[in-house]
Symmetry: C3
Subunit: 149 residues, 3 copies
């Protein structure tokens, strides 16, 4: 029944909740990575953040900006997944397919972060991770649109 779609008794919802929780935590790690790079390179964006009167605000450190680009890419891709994964769960999809789509998004986005902001790996590593997650998200979005047409 429809009512039980959003309970842990539904393996699709359970998987969605698990991977969404993991991805929320992964996104918060980006703030930590940014902070680490800011302190390491003494790159602060606000006067009130400068810990020494000798420092000046700085916006162009490549290590800080790399993490920030990876974080912004998360905003652009993981946040839409949260809603489309939930709506897809509410369409009551086949569990095997749905669970593997959620895994594809989550693992794709974790790999994306690793090869972008932790250890820089030559392309097409980042592109592949990006498209695996995006492809799975697009599939879910199309299913939701078609079912709700």
């Amino acid at each position: 029944m429809a009512l039980e779609l959003l309970t842990l008794a539904n393996p699709v919802f359970k998987s969605y909740a698990f991977w969404s929780g993991v991805l929320v935590l992964k996104m918060f790690v980006m703030s930590l990575l940014t902070a680490i790079q800011r302190f390491k390179t003494k790159t602060f964006a606000n006067p009130e953040d400068l810990m020494s009167p000798k420092l000046k605000v700085k916006f162009d450190d490549p290590n800080v900006e790399r993490v920030r680009r990876a974080h912004r890419n998360d905003l652009e891709n993981i946040l839409p997944f949260f809603i489309i994964g939930l709506l897809y769960t509410l369409t009551n999809p086949a569990a095997f397919l749905a669970i593997n789509l959620f895994r594809a998004v989550a693992i794709g986005r974790i790999v994306h972060t690793l090869v972008y902001a932790v250890v820089v790996v030559p392309q097409p590593a980042r592109a592949l991770a990006f498209f695996v997650a995006l492809g799975a998200s697009i599939y879910m979005a199309l299913q939701v649109v078609l079912v709700a047409l």
Copy 2:
């Protein structure tokens, strides 16, 4: 009954799910538009993305930045709509009003993208599209806050 609010039998939810799916797809199109502008203008933000040793990283191409501004504006407006539209659906609103509010948000945001990042149209085109979507979203947010007070 409350339980059936998140099923396709509820025309409000059906409309919310449809337009949310459309807007998720629309947001993903922004990544594609950014990529098109990056390749057209050879503007890449990461050394590992440069396809020729002659290229350098570049951050200030006006065509790339325009699409990125439109995309960021989506993050600021469409992503909050996803949650407030869902919560508004759970307040069991009148179907006619709710469905037209969702349409206002979706069409406002699609027009916003078209006049901002596809064909630049003089103001107030973008401002109008922006405020139609924002006004509908604010109305839903106020309803949710008042009902849950």
Copy 3:
């Protein structure tokens, strides 16, 4: 019963809906604050926004950029809260704890905006507000992951 978790009869959901509505409105206020700073400092990012032929596009006004940094920080922290707060609600937590976690996130983020973008208050004001909201969100995310494991 699980089905009633997303109704206003559930005090946890009621609190989640209320604070989510407040935070959506708070996020929209950031667009207004940005617009105010843009007009005050005549800083516009698009040629079609310039209201006088004497003006040029500008991207580096410190007042505009400060509000934009605060807004981006909202995207990074409030938007993930929306989904993790909803999933946490669906785990049927103790009402007292859950309601105070939502309050911590909401008040932490409101204070964050006030000391960052309205009246600049020396550190650690912003850091404290940031970590109160982040800590509560991480707790909810860990609960969701553990329950859905």
